[in-house]
């Protein structure tokens, strides 16, 4: 890919990696990273569940990304940005959004007795707000996995790399996250009837 090629040249030229004032490098960063700002912000909102914290984390993430742009090897930039954001969130807000991550992976039953709902019930489109709330209510690692998959649209291997876990763990987290969502979903359906 062209960006990667130019990028390597740039790196060879400035052995002092991380020169945030290099205008050429800054321009490449701007073109590569800024179009994804809304997505990075979205992930931060779900990880931290707080607009002000998300704001701070995203700003910090972009500053770090600019500083370490030389470590970006080309290819898909979104997983790279998300990984930086995730570290930012963990480091700065260890006591907050990620505090509930210790929840045992098997604390939630994977499967509950299927409840036959009327077709129209399940199919009826939930209001965006209630879906957001259901996703936000998930425990940390499950919330992170489902957001990266359903909202950011990453593949299993990209999620595995960002979260630093095997693909099998991504699969089981996703299965549990969806099971929990379904339980919340069906509960809302029931109340609505």
């Amino acid at each position: 890919m062209m960006l990667a090629g130019r990028h390597r040249l740039g790196r060879a030229r400035s052995a002092m990696a991380g020169d945030v004032h290099d205008p050429e490098r800054a321009r490449r960063f701007r073109e590569a990273a800024l179009p994804h700002l809304d997505e990075v912000y979205t992930l931060a909102r779900y990880l931290l569940r707080n607009a002000a914290d998300a704001d701070d984390a995203v700003q910090e993430c972009y500053l770090r990304a600019l500083k370490h742009f030389d470590t970006f090897r080309g290819g898909a930039i979104r997983p790279w940005l998300f990984a930086i954001l995730r570290n930012t969130c963990k480091g700065v807000y260890a006591q907050r959004g990620f505090a509930d991550q210790e929840l045992a992976e098997d604390a939630v039953p994977l499967w509950s007795e299927p409840q036959e709902t009327p077709e129209a019930g399940m199919l009826r489109r939930r209001e965006e707000q209630s879906i957001r709330e259901m996703v936000s209510a998930l425990p940390g690692q499950f919330r992170e996995t489902i957001v990266l998959r359903e909202i950011n649209g990453l593949s299993y291997s990209e999620i595995a790399e960002i979260a630093g876990v095997p693909i099998g763990t991504v699969m089981s987290r996703l299965a549990r996250a969806r099971s929990m969502l379904r339980t919340a979903w069906l509960a809302i359906e029931e109340r609505a009837q």
Binding site: M1, M2, L3, G5, V20, H21, D22, P23, E24, A26, R27, F29, R30, E31, L34, P35, L37, D38, E39, V40, Y41, T42, R45, A54, D55, V58, Q59, Y62, L63, L66, L110, W111, P114, E116, T117, M122, L123, R125, R126, E127, E128, I131, R132, V135, R149, E150, I151, N152, G153, S155, Y156, M171, S172, L174, A175, R178, L181, R182, W185
Partner: protein
């Protein structure tokens, strides 16, 4: 396959992450298991609703400004993606193609005109992604709303096709400029991926086969049909974008 295995694997099936053999195993299990069939149906419906809902947030303008302010701007240049940079990219791409040709690899020559069109398409696509409000001037998932919006704004109103059933949600449309001429940009979304479909008049009324090409990290498909010239561009996979082209063409021919 046991139900326990299927509990996990049917998610990978929904997400298209299984190879063909494994997918067949899961499907065979589901076909013979009422419980897992119900699971699969419910999760698919839930996923469908999640994909259709807007679960994303838009970064506040103040945050965007703070970040932009933190990135140094070359004094002599505007902050927009520069045309020159993009064209340099194409020159580089062409040099690579020439090298490939020398190696007796079958390839398609990109004409000077195509380079210009694709360069403009990349610029316009990037611009449309810079901020949510740049994406569409008319926002509607209804083709009957989007199509008439273009009348009087471009020479010929473009075909707008409802592809919701094929998994591509119509977001809306806007006016854009390609090769110095106003063109219709029809915006679709699949999951997080935005597709810009640029539609202009073509001198050629017939159909030309689609050419798929990666440009500047984006996938593109370009073709002509029924007097229109189409360029589709997106950050989605090449296969997915080809599928978009096929679905759009099928819809166009069906007169949808």
């Amino acid at each position: 396959m046991t139900c326990d295995e299927a509990d996990v694997l049917l998610h990978a099936l929904i997400d298209g992450e299984l190879d063909a053999a494994r997918a067949r195993d899961v499907e065979a299990h589901v076909a013979g298991c009422q419980r897992c069939a119900t699971e699969l149906r419910q999760f698919r419906e839930m996923r469908h609703a999640m994909t259709g809902a807007s679960l994303r947030f838009v970064a506040p303008a103040a945050l965007r400004s703070r970040i932009e302010a933190a990135i140094p701007v070359p004094a002599a240049r505007a902050s927009q993606p520069s045309r020159r940079f993009l064209l340099q990219g194409f020159a580089f791409g062409t040099a690579l193609s020439a090298a490939a040709a020398a190696g007796v690899v079958l390839f398609v020559v990109r004409s000077g005109e195509d380079e210009r069109l694709l360069g403009d398409a990349v610029s316009a696509h990037l611009r449309s992604l810079q901020a949510e409000q740049h994406l569409a001037d008319v926002r509607s998932a209804d083709q009957q709303v989007v199509r008439p919006w273009f009348s009087g704004k471009v020479a010929v109103a473009p075909p707008v096709i409802d592809l919701a059933a094929q998994g591509f949600t119509l977001v809306g449309g806007r006016l854009d400029t390609i090769d110095g001429k106003p063109v219709a940009a029809i915006v679709y979304r699949r999951g997080v991926h935005v597709i810009n479909l640029f539609v202009g008049a073509s001198a050629n009324a017939g159909h030309t086969a689609a050419l798929g090409e990666a440009v500047q990290g984006f996938n593109t498909q370009r073709w002509s049909d029924q007097g229109f010239r189409f360029i589709a561009i997106s950050d989605m996979g090449a296969d997915e974008l080809r599928d978009f082209h096929i679905q759009f063409e099928t819809g166009l021919r069906a007169g949808a």
